[in-house]
């Protein structure tokens, strides 16, 4: 009894610490920003007049609808991309599966604005594809025009969220579920539509809602494509315009946050009581089938087409990084290695900074994620669910809002010893990344913990291990797959984060990669080196991801069938 209460005290203390961390670095900064939205711009008094103005302004109503249209369209297009990929890789035995599972993640590890630059060169009105089409057929296709251009870029960037979640959900389906339907006469698309997809629905909804929310909040892509009449760009433009203190920017931020929380809540409702994985007994995952030769050809054709499309930003970027001048032509005029030379001479600090920041952030994220998961699932602490909700809520806070909040909150807090405001110390960038990526890590850790039977813990305690030692020796090793998955997804996405960090970088030597690329891309001569830096970033993060993926796979085999890794996002 004594050890029980002591362990509860320990968990309570831990929960309190985490809660404090989230309060200081998530809630306070956001509230600071939100507060402005409720201030009368003339008198400073609390008011709702700004929200009345928002809904009275036709431009904002239009922006609101545009944002919903783009987010919805991106979800649709991302689904069209990821459903076949997820299905083929989980359902059939063929060599392409590993390729897709790895390459499918690659879009995530490139800042979307970099992708937009490359896609403009390839698919823009006078991009390679349209120049060719124009030459051959005498017309052009407006891939990148207006809101649909944003949809295209966003879908290509964010579809991995659906792919990852859907694949994990498909892998978790007991093969007997599918076999029993086949046994009763269902096959092909009917089988998929009636049994497989509904069972994978929770995973799909989780991924789709994340895509919706991310696109809804995304700033860089519409800005780069010069689309102003959407919510996030409006917020940013208004907050950062020269000399203007228009509360509308803050109002829009509040609306972004509220709407994102709302869509999280909707997906939460949709998923409630649908945790099918726990209902199913036995195990196995979808049965994999060998493909007949002609099926294989068809499969590869579909997959290559999709991969070509989703990798087009990388292809464009690679061309850009090796090209001398690329202007109004199908391909660059000539090729050179000079840009890479330039990058390795002048820009290596971006790379080491990124590895440091993203690595540290991901490490802290999985530690926090594991702790929160354990507190939520294995203790009876009052209010423990709120820890989960608040940490997950971070996903609904746009990076810009967090960045502004940090600047406003921490500028007056001086860090001892180095005598600098916290808001201009590089550690604040790491903290911002920790908060921004915590939801990803937390989801993965939760998934990992849920797969550890509580009996395994009880067995350890029965043999004399304390709570702490049980966690360290039994729980953490068993959920290591989930932890690694959380680490990877946090690390990879943190490496390319720009929206919050751009506000917080206070010295060039502290700047991470995405910032460096952005900066290079702001000058005529910097386009090539910027692209080269982008390729280097993709390679580094890609290789790191691949290695960790292999590690997970190996561990999974060692622990099979007890622990299966689901890199379930959020």
């Amino acid at each position: 009894m004594n050890s029980f209460s002591r362990s509860q005290w320990g968990a309570g203390g831990l929960a309190l610490l985490i809660g404090l961390f989230l309060f200081v670095f998530l809630i306070v900064p956001v509230v600071k920003v939100v507060y402005v939205a409720f201030q009368d711009p003339n008198t400073g008094a609390l008011t709702l007049i700004n929200f009345v103005d928002f809904f009275n302004t036709s431009l904002f109503r239009e922006s609101f609808l545009n944002s919903i249209y783009v987010a919805g369209g991106a979800v649709l297009l991302a689904s069209l991309i990821s459903i076949p990929l997820a299905y083929f890789t989980t359902r059939f035995n063929f060599g392409g599966a590993v390729l897709i599972q790895t390459l499918g993640i690659v879009p995530l590890i490139m800042p979307p604005f970099v992708g937009a630059v490359a896609m403009l060169l390839l698919f823009g009105e006078n991009g390679s594809v349209n120049l060719l089409i124009d030459e051959w057929f005498g017309f052009t296709i407006p891939f990148m025009e207006g809101l649909n251009g944003v949809i295209l870029v966003e879908a290509i960037h964010y579809f991995p969220f659906i792919l990852i979640n859907l694949s994990a959900a498909l892998l978790n389906i007991d093969s007997a579920m599918e076999e029993s339907a086949q046994n009763l006469g269902a096959s092909g698309t009917r089988l998929f539509r009636r049994i497989v997809f509904p069972l994978a629905m929770p995973g799909y909804v989780a991924g789709a809602s994340l895509v919706f929310l991310k696109v809804f909040d995304d700033l860089g892509t519409p800005l780069l494509l010069n689309i102003n009449n959407m919510l996030a760009p409006q917020a940013y433009l208004r907050i950062s315009s020269i000399g203007i203190s228009d509360p509308m920017g803050y109002v829009i931020s509040v609306i972004l946050v509220v709407f994102s929380l709302f869509s999280l809540w909707v997906s939460f409702l949709a998923l409630k009581n649908k945790d099918y994985a726990t209902v199913q007994k036995g195990g196995g995952g979808l049965m994999k089938r060998d493909l007949r030769p002609w099926e294989k050809i068809g499969c590869y054709a579909v997959i290559i087409l999709i991969l070509l499309m989703v990798l087009s930003p990388h292809i464009g970027l690679a061309l850009l990084s090796f090209g001398t001048v690329w202007s109004y032509s199908v391909l660059p005029d000539a090729y050179t290695f000079a840009h890479y030379g330039n990058v390795f001479r002048t820009a290596t600090q971006y790379i080491s900074n990124t590895l440091l920041y993203a690595g540290l952030a991901a490490l802290i994220d999985v530690v926090l994620g594991t702790a929160i998961a354990y507190i939520v699932w294995r203790t009876g602490l009052i209010g423990r669910k709120w820890l989960d909700y608040i940490a997950m809520g971070a996903v609904a806070v746009p990076g810009v809002v967090l960045g502004i909040g940090y600047l406003r909150t921490f500028v007056e807090f001086n860090v001892p010893i180095i005598d600098k405001p916290l808001s201009s110390w590089w550690v604040i960038i790491v903290i911002a990344l920790v908060i921004r990526r915590l939801p990803y890590a937390l989801r993965a850790c939760m998934a990992g913990l849920q797969q550890v039977s509580i009996m395994l813990e009880e067995a350890a305690e029965n043999l004399g291990a304390t709570k702490t030692r049980t966690v360290r020796r039994i729980v953490v090793p068993l959920m290591s797959g989930g932890i690694m998955a959380g680490f990877i997804i946090s690390f990879a996405t943190a490496s390319v984060e720009l929206s919050a960090t751009i506000m917080l970088v206070s010295a060039e030597s502290d700047a991470p990669l995405a910032y460096g690329i952005y900066e290079f891309m702001q000058s005529a001569a910097g386009r090539g080196p910027g692209a080269a830096l982008g390729i280097v970033a993709v390679l580094i993060v890609g290789i790191a991801t691949y290695i960790s993926h292999r590690v997970i796979k190996r561990r999974e085999k060692e622990l099979a069938p007890g622990v299966a890794v689901a890199a379930q996002g959020v």
Binding site: S241, I242, A524
Partner: protein
């Protein structure tokens, strides 16, 4: 700092150590380092910074922020300032900082810098910021693009109004880019409030896009997304120097304005900051500006002797930048109003404006000599160019304070809110554009 970081990298790679243990080896930062907040790209900052370090041995830390973000940053961190200098183009950005009391005075020791470039004083008369280079606004174009689309090379602002350029022009918004703001203001001052706005709307009717970043314009021209861009000279000159098939010219009506540098109030290293200014204005510092990646007009006339052939020299060619006498006070008095008006009338209503312009252009081409139709077209043009407020109102102090950044005191009484006015303008403008389109279509069918 560097050492600590390397340790971090190793630790993270190993991904083993607890966070607490890593925090220990942090040490105080060396003070002998100049921190400059700048809007310039690395091509400029790295090149100049290297030359400076080579000449003086002082290390420089460049902090890249968009001009607007740089102002925000200095304002937000003023209470605990860590930046030494602010280095950017637009003089009005420096005016904003000066107004907020965020700059400190400095007296230059170097000799040989004239008082004016074009019609513009090089240094702040009150001594808060110094001009180190001149920049003028002009037109850049992609030669391949113009050739493929069979477009002539434009050489004045008026050219950009021509129907032939419809959908081929790009520009940034004044609220987004300090330099663009100057371009807009120059034209308004040169042509007058009503005519100036009419000209801008006629040009904007041909816009392909309004970019959110000022560099978005040269970027778009360089890659061929659109053919013609309204840009500051060094964007055009450096793009050309980087090998892109582009060219640049100054139209007659342009302002040469100094690009500036200033020392931030309570700078940690004011001494080093002074040295940086001196270097920048010295003959060797001025020569760095001619680097193909930078290509700015030096403020020291002597430096032009070393410039490549064909490089514009405003001290010799008096046609550059002298047509308009730029009134900085007037510009300052209506700064935010101009931004807001441009966004409401052009940036956010670009589709409506374009549609109206297209309709008018079509109608004009069709109904040459048809007096009735021409009358309708004239009405349509008048509707399009209509501005919701007068020049006098735009400079009105009370009205401006609605659009101001900060209320000076809680007691300052302000009535009305920016969002309210903008919504009213938007309703009016949208109706005008729609009506103009309708009239033009009617004219075309006559």
């Amino acid at each position: 700092m560097k050492i600590t970081k390397r340790i971090f990298v190793q630790l993270t790679a190993g991904a083993v150590l607890a966070v607490g243990a890593v925090m220990a080896p942090i040490q105080a930062v060396a003070a002998e380092k100049l921190v400059i907040v700048t809007s310039y790209p690395p091509d400029t900052t790295v090149t100049v910074g290297k030359a400076f370090t080579k000449a003086t041995g002082i290390k420089v830390e460049m902090l890249k922020k968009k001009t607007t973000a740089g102002i925000k940053y200095l304002q937000a961190t003023a209470a605990n300032n860590t930046s030494d200098m602010f280095w950017a183009s637009a003089p009005d950005a420096f005016e904003v900082l000066k107004g907020d009391g965020l700059l400190q005075k400095y007296t230059v020791k170097v000799k040989g810098i004239p008082e004016k470039v074009g019609a513009f004083p090089i240094n702040d008369p009150e001594g808060y910021y110094k001009g180190f280079a001149a920049s003028g606004y002009g037109i850049m174009w992609n030669t391949r693009y113009l050739k493929a689309k069979k477009l002539p090379v434009p050489n004045s602002w008026a050219d950009l109004e021509k129907p032939i350029y419809h959908g081929h022009v790009g520009m940034s918004a004044p609220s987004r880019s300090g330099t663009t703001h100057l371009t807009v203001e120059t034209l308004l001052q040169g042509e007058g409030w009503e005519k100036g706005w009419a000209r801008w709307k006629d040009i904007a009717g041909n816009f392909k896009t309004v970019t959110a970043r000022s560099f978005g314009v040269p970027d778009g021209v360089n890659s061929g997304q659109f053919g013609v861009g309204v840009v500051i000279d060094f964007f055009g000159l450096s793009s050309k120097a980087s090998g892109f098939p582009v060219d640049f010219l100054y139209p007659k009506m342009t302002t040469l304005v100094p690009a500036n540098i200033a020392i931030v109030k309570n700078a940690p290293n004011p001494g080093l900051a002074g040295q940086f200014i001196e270097f920048l204005l010295s003959p060797e510092g001025q020569e760095v500006l001619l680097d193909p990646k930078i290509r700015r007009l030096p403020v020291n006339p002597a430096t032009y002797a070393k410039a490549p052939k064909g490089f514009p020299n405003p001290f010799k060619d008096k046609s550059i930048g002298s047509a308009v006498k730029f009134d900085l006070q007037l510009s300052k008095s209506r700064y935010n109003i101009i931004n807001s008006l441009f966004d409401v009338m052009i940036t956010y209503r670009l589709d409506d404006l374009r549609a109206a312009t297209k309709a008018i252009q079509t109608a004009e081409a069709k109904s040459k000599g048809n007096a009735g139709a021409m009358k309708l077209i004239k009405q349509a043009r008048a509707l399009v160019s209509k501005v919701p407020i007068t020049a006098a109102k735009a400079s009105e102090k009370d009205f401006n304070s609605i659009f101001k950044k900060k209320r000076k005191k809680a007691t300052t009484k302000v009535t009305g809110r920016q969002a309210e006015f903008e919504q009213a303008w938007d309703t009016e403008i949208k109706a005008n554009y729609a009506k103009a389109k309708q009239l033009a279509e009617k004219a075309a069918s006559m």
